[in-house]
Amino acid sequence: MKDQAMKHLTASEQVTDCAELINAVGLHARPSVKLTQLAKIFDCRVEIALSADGPWVDAKSPVKVMRVKAPRGAILHVRTSGEGARGAVDALMALVRGGFGEAMDEQADQSHG
């Protein structure tokens, strides 16, 4: 799985990981809010991107995350650095892999945003 491919820990305590968006709507309105709220819990720097090369976006900024608008099937990359970087990556990856707690069935869930 591509899920595990990017996991590594550098000397500067930067952690990256990635996972496919599996929920029906991808990173749209409600998932964006959930991701931002979760990122804000952590003191470390938290960024997301749709490519390992960036551009990286501050995951604690509701407006910037909302503008990412990634569809289902896109690979979401998460990069954290600083105190608690590993815990933050793990928490965000759990949210993404859990489909943001939303429906996975595209046909049954066109109304979500």
Partner: protein, 129 residues
């Protein structure tokens, strides 16, 4: 520390209520939230007194951010703020942002414990100058 509260002021009570529903369902209940809109006769409008009451309902020691729609919603909100005690007046801001998106973004920022100024900046980031 308390989270910044959010007040939604629309000419339409349905828009005010609907925007508040979106905040509650998307952001949750970790921020104080109040909404007001419409005139007593059931028409469109906003009133200074009802905006003041909404500010009281959403009050937080961290302050209150107000999201408005058009014209009178903004001027009446500014008047309502002017009428607050001096101690509270400095902790209420009217955001220059679209009402629905601004309310959701402001509440998301507020739910993380951000300051009033950060909450306002996030809402206003939606409409660059």
């Amino acid at each position: 520390m308390a989270n910044v509260g959010i007040v939604i002021v629309s000419h339409s009570p349905k828009i005010a209520e609907g925007a508040a529903d979106m905040v509650r369902q998307m952001v949750g209940d970790s921020v104080n939230l109040a909404f007001t809109g419409g005139d007593p006769g059931g028409g469109l409008g906003t009133g200074v007194a009802s905006i003041r009451e909404a500010i009281d309902r959403a009050w937080s020691e961290a302050g209150v951010a107000i999201l408005v729609d058009l014209g009178g919603a903004e001027t009446n909100s500014e008047m309502a703020v002017e009428m607050l005690d001096a101690e509270r007046r400095g902790r209420v801001v009217v955001c220059n942002a679209p009402i629905v998106e601004g309310a959701v973004m402001a509440a998301t920022e507020a739910s993380g414990g951000s300051s009033l100024e950060t909450v306002r900046r996030t809402a206003e980031e939606l409409s660059p100058p």
